[in-house]
Symmetry: C2
Subunit: 450 residues, 2 copies
């Protein structure tokens, strides 16, 4: 059902549609956000969709709703909290001859904390299951942090490439696994085309668990710590650091970790009267021991930076400490993991291969890029892909987006005309405000109906 | 000269080096920021470089300074306000067998408002002129806004591809022309390799001027307005909007533009009691006339969104208004330009080609993507590429980064050993704090020297 009556009546009309078992394209704006949330919770419980309120655009099963463009059919599925964002992508992808499977609008507030991204999650789940969709694109203004975390977890588990474009947010890196971050709609278009050609990142990640909960990062390189903090801050909570990106990430006492903690041990508070931690491993070894003794710690991250100026044998300094930490944890009946980001070149004086081998012999996992380290961390302590049954999410039947030939239109009549012109069977409902728009009278009538 | 003496003495040592006509690699930290700024201004006036203070890493002419990696020679030039950021890139690019020409560290505060990115600008200019460098990479934490604007202008005019990675900042789009925005060091690496292969974006943009100063954007699509605001906000000033991204962008009176103004005419304050501006062009036509009458306006931006639900002939509605605006401006002896972002598909009911032709006949420039619109805008009202002579910038001779075999080392002795191991001729200066570290005595001595 397409609903475009004035905002103060729209939620009631939409709710009636849900009660009749209909999916709703809710164009109207000025619907209170708590009504939006309750409508969407009701829809979710019944396996129905509410696109909107304030949803400008959708293309479902080849039929365009609201403001939409007639786009060639293809294998890219779009999810958008913005109308013209979706329309720009339709326009771009039609020009590329790539085409789209579906474009699902969610309404601009869907990804707020109050609504919690209910429709976006349903849309991700639909396009994940939809056989006509090979690549997903999610475009929105920056969501609430907790919604970002959940959506990125769901995207990571989608089993298909997902291009994420949160316009105006600092992206948590270039991407990882099947999730790529685009900075603009055009970049999202480009990544989607690339993913379509390459069919990359199609398998969901395997996860592992050490039993602990927290990751602790002990870095000598400030920029490495920052990059990892930017990435992990988007998908884990709570995250603390001595180089916080957001105010709530500030670690109260740099000497004591809490929750997930990422430390730059080269920062002033750690280096006063000491050599840089690339040269002197004393501080890192003591902190490594401290973190390893915490039974809630699952994973410890370290960096080793080789090259001129650095210690002559960093792996030799760290390996005994890593080995002891792992042995002591095992002796205490705990699993603990250590991962090391190794930065250096084959020509560096320390012998890259030998350094790597020494670290691996100590029991550490050795990776060569920040992206690999983040991926490893997420697989250990990130959100697990959720079983729909477990989360009590009633899956929306795929017919909701595939079978869109029969539409009821309540409100703006040109929408009915557009739908009919596209070949849909449209029933235009002759809607009038209850009691002719007289609210006192309408309230009386509503009470009498009970 | 490599300077790594304690911070409170380091600036004096560096200044002596400048007075002797030497370039300075200043490893020391804890140098006051005003001393950093005055040192760098002095260096700039003399065509010398000060890398640092708090500069961890540089590779100049194959010689590594401070903490650095022995990286194969190649054609990618790096500029970094961070040490381990540069080292990670060295490590990545060596593994890719791409290699680097030079890696120029600037120190972490170089891109602050207080220092103004003096060293980064010098480095951009050096690598622009350096025949061994085909692609530039600039990595930093987010610079001060005014420094971002200047550096992006210089990058745009570099005549070579420039990959920009401001870690933790919301990037102003995917890139434009020869400037690409990376979200992580790995993405910067990937873009640099791609640019190296494709040799793209090598020619500096041609600019044009209408004589006016300001751009005014009148958009019906909120996300289109937002994307353009994100892009232009990074390179133009002052920018105002009714959908501000930063607090200082808020337009006091939505009915009156000032400076550069980007409006979302679909926002609530414009649509109460009106149809959406995709359906009703009355408001846009009146505002177009208002902006065109402002003699300080150089360029007016519009969007036209075709498709179902939209007006049956948007170009027919807008074209007469555009034509009149251009004619009246010309009659008043002014140049004015209008550019239209046209969103739609070939199958849309309005006839894409015909809409485009109608708009072009009215005198507007028609573009199909946000990126093209931003590029067009920048060419009209953006910062002009600056002639070094005009800005009184003494170019640093290329020998500063090419000819690095003779080094004076003042401070940490292992740096001298590393340099010697790389085959440099090193003179180790036996430095002691003035008056044995007694500051009162040192001040007396300094006064006696005058």
């Amino acid at each position: 059902m397409v609903v475009s009556v004035p905002g103060r009546y729209a939620a009631d009309v939409a709710e009636e549609a849900l009660d009749l078992g209909r999916n709703v394209f809710l164009y109207s704006d000025n619907v209170p956000v708590d009504r939006e949330a309750s409508l969407k919770r009701k829809a979710r419980d019944r396996g129905l969709l509410v696109l909107g309120p304030d949803c400008g655009t959708a293309v479902l099963g080849g039929t365009g709703f609201g403001f939409s463009n007639r786009t060639r059919r293809g294998r890219i599925g779009l999810i958008g909290a913005s109308g013209t964002g979706l329309q720009a992508l339709l326009s771009y992808l039609d020009g590329d001859e790539a085409g789209i499977s579906h474009a699902i609008g969610t309404g601009g507030r869907d990804l707020s904390a109050a609504v919690g991204g209910i429709t976006a999650s349903q849309a991700l789940d639909l396009l994940r299951r939809d056989e006509d969709t090979d690549v997903l694109v999610l475009v929105s203004k920056p969501p609430a942090p907790e919604v970002t975390r959940r959506l990125l977890g769901e995207a990571r588990a989608a089993g298909k490439p997902v291009i994420v474009c949160f316009l105006g947010a600092a992206p948590p890196g270039g991407g990882w696994g099947n999730v790529w971050f685009a900075n603009s709609l055009e970049e999202a278009r480009g990544y989607a085309l690339k993913a379509l050609q390459e069919r990359v990142g199609a398998s969901p990640p395997t996860t592992f668990s050490t039993g602990g909960r927290w990751v602790r990062g002990l870095f000598s390189g400030g920029t490495l710590a920052l990059e990892i903090l930017l990435c992990l801050g988007a998908v884990l909570t709570p995250v603390y650091s001595n180089i916080p990106v957001t105010a709530d990430q500030r670690l109260p006492d740099p000497l004591k970790s809490q929750g997930h903690t990422i430390l730059d041990l080269g920062a002033d508070e750690f280096t006063v009267g000491r050599l840089h931690p690339m040269m002197d491993f004393d501080l890192r070894l003591r902190r490594l021991r401290q973190e390893a003794a915490d039974p809630e710690v699952a994973l410890i991250l370290l960096d080793v930076v080789l090259g001129d100026g650095a210690h002559a044998d960093p792996a030799g300094e760290l390996a005994p400490g890593i080995e002891r930490a792992l042995t002591e944890a095992r002796a205490a009946g705990r699993e603990l993991a250590v991962a090391v980001l190794l930065i250096g070149t084959a020509a560096d004086p320390q012998d890259l291969q030998e350094q790597s081998a020494t670290l691996e012999r100590s029991g550490a996992r050795v990776v060569r890029t920040v992206g690999e380290l983040v991926e490893h961390t997420w697989r250990c302590v990130g959100e697990r892909p959720r079983d729909p049954a477990e989360t009590a999410l009633a899956p929306v039947p795929l017919e909701a987006i595939r079978d869109t030939r029969a539409v009821i239109n309540v409100g703006i009549e040109t929408f009915a005309a557009s739908l009919a012109a596209q070949g849909a069977e449209v029933v235009q409902v002759d809607w009038r405000p209850p009691a002719g728009g007289n609210e006192k009278m309408a309230a009386l009538l509503a009470r009498m109906k009970r």
